[in-house]
Point group: C2
Chain length 339, copies 2
DNA sequence: GCAATGTTTGCATAGGTATTCAAGCCCAAT
DNA sequence: ATTGGGCTTGAATACCTATGCAAACATTGC
């Protein structure tokens, strides 16, 4: 017996019909306790387990969720993926992973590949999708959730943190700290997440009548962020505070400031990040940052996916979850702000 | 037309048989150029794509590789996963991810779940498998590769770096640096990888007639490693060098030494890690470490998986790939060792 | 004891594709 | 002109499971 046993094998062994075996392994089907016991005994004896592919083919439910992610450098994503995977496993779903590579090429091709697997849903993280693909997904009636990215006007479900509110909070914090040359190193211009953080930050400054001293793009990338930091400090009027659009870049900026340029943080320049990745709490950085509530973002993502799968007509939701400002030592702390 | 089109739909539209459509989408099948053109035209018109589930059901090849991983905290794994995913996509395979959670519970159950999906292969990373499961996989003739873990005597394919050689190299390096109270913070005792690193390290010391000054387990975990570092420094005769079994822990040890205990690195204590994760190169740590050649480990893993899939009778291989010692600033550098 | 429910079971079929087999075609060689 | 061989093609079947339907059975109430 070298082949995997099938439900018919079990049926023969137990002296019942194949349907009976199927029903025993289908929750909620009608089977007598006696039958269940006999079938399970035979199944165990033969080492039978239902074939998920065949099951998916006939039910139209593969219980697979596709996850598309560009890069895993930014420690925010491994953390999120681990939580996503755990939450989905709890519901009997599993993650099929697709990476687009840094070059950002062919993300459309990749999504095509995913659809071939008849995934029950799709999660896009740190990925921008084309309008064309969006349409195809809608036509295929495949639930789609953007994670940590928004696409306003697309009518897609998206879950993010309160990026605008967060940006504004950081502006208020830096202003309260008495900074008057506040700069920003932003993310990738094509990402709504990055635009929202900048927008909120800008609004916060505007409300206080303070200017944004300087603004350079960081592309969500360590090298570019370091570059930007150097450029900022090279100016005749270097900033006294920098809000960096995510922690991954903020850590690079701190490294560059301290070890490359010999600038003291926070004494000469305050640095604030966004995400609160695990490393932000490490004493070598002790980074003040706005926490993304990953756990809750994940829960909402999974929940939304499940309701979309349950009721395909369910409305798409755009959920923002505000996170707290985590005050540590990388930025001057205003009076009374000891969060 | 709300349902996904099938090969029969395309066949009807093109006025040919379903078999013809199938052949057009099966590489290496016999089709005339004329037929291929007509079918592709119809397929594009209808938006047809082959159903991977149905295809997998009949061919017995799902083109899915299961990946089981315990945790993603250690940045070595996200990096490896990204590379694995890319390499596999190149071959037309994709990763189905399973996380066992930190509690290490039910890794057997999880693997059972995977097998239901008829995966063509299995990669276990940072995971120890029970003998029972090993047998089941062998019976199911499912290719299995241990990544960054070995299981001597199991007859399983495993790819690791040269852990013993690496441990020995580090011993030689520390001895050459004139250290005479050399300690070790090890990984998890159940992991062969950890045992090999210790073994090589011990051998290296023995050969020079030097003692292992102290040895505490770190469980591949930041908290435990910090604990261990504190315990070591608390002794009446604290070490002047610590080899930590991986970078993830080594960074925690450095943090604890510097910020918690006020110990200067490397002036008072040298620290050496293992892996060369991206963060080891960051100036805040500048960690001397033994590099695991991830790229090549991944390539070998994928290659071995492919040959096992191709020829199930292929012998299992135990591959070790030596990596270089990357000399940075966290440990005293002996004369002439500037790598 | 009988009709009327309610529960369990088996039969047959569907779901979308790959592949064997035989039939059909075309062209070259004799 | 005929035979042979090489390509293409279509019909039929298999892969493994879930489920609608009808038959068989057990249960209840009178």
């Amino acid at each position: 017996m070298t082949k995997k046993p099938t439900s018919s094998d079990v049926a023969r062994h137990a002296g019942v019909s194949q349907s009976a075996v199927s029903r025993v392994f289908t929750p909620g089907a009608s089977v007598s306790p006696d039958m269940a016991k006999r079938v399970r005994a035979s199944a165990d004896a033969l080492g039978y387990r239902p074939n998920a592919l065949a099951r998916g083919l006939i039910t139209g439910r593969s219980r697979i969720i596709g996850l598309v992610v560009a890069y895993l450098d930014n420690p925010f994503y491994p953390d999120a993926i681990e939580k996503l995977s755990n939450a989905l496993q709890q519901q009997g779903y599993h993650l099929l992973i697709f990476t687009t590579g840094k070059h950002g090429i062919d993300t459309d091709t990749v999504i095509q590949d995913i659809l071939d697997y008849q995934v029950d849903g799709l999660i896009l993280a740190s990925i921008t999708i084309t309008a064309d693909l969006t349409k195809r997904c809608a036509e295929a009636r495949i639930p789609l959730v953007l994670f940590n990215r928004g696409l306003p006007g697309s009518g897609l479900s998206a879950v993010t943190s309160g990026n605008q509110a967060g940006g504004r909070r950081i502006a208020e914090f830096l202003l309260a700290g008495g900074h008057d040359r506040i700069a920003h190193i932003s993310g990738f211009d094509g990402a709504q997440t990055a635009r929202d953080r900048l927008r909120g930050f800008q609004d916060g400054l505007d409300d206080a009548g303070a200017p944004l001293h300087a603004h350079l793009p960081g592309k969500f990338d360590r090298a570019t962020a370091s570059e930007a930091a150097r450029a900022l400090m090279d100016r005749p009027d270097p900033p006294d505070a920098i809000f960096v659009a995510n922690d991954h870049m903020a850590l690079a900026v701190m490294d560059t400031l301290r070890h490359d340029l010999g600038v003291r943080v926070p004494d000469e320049v305050s640095v604030v990040g966004y995400d609160d990745v695990p490393m932000a709490a490490w004493p070598a950085y002790d980074l003040t940052t706005l926490r993304q509530p990953t756990r809750r973002m994940v829960d909402v993502t999974v929940e939304d996916l499940m309701t979309q799968i349950e009721t395909p007509a369910a409305p798409r939701r755009r959920v923002e979850i505000d996170g707290p400002l985590v005050i540590r030592g990388s930025a001057r702390i205003p009076e009374g702000w000891t969060s």
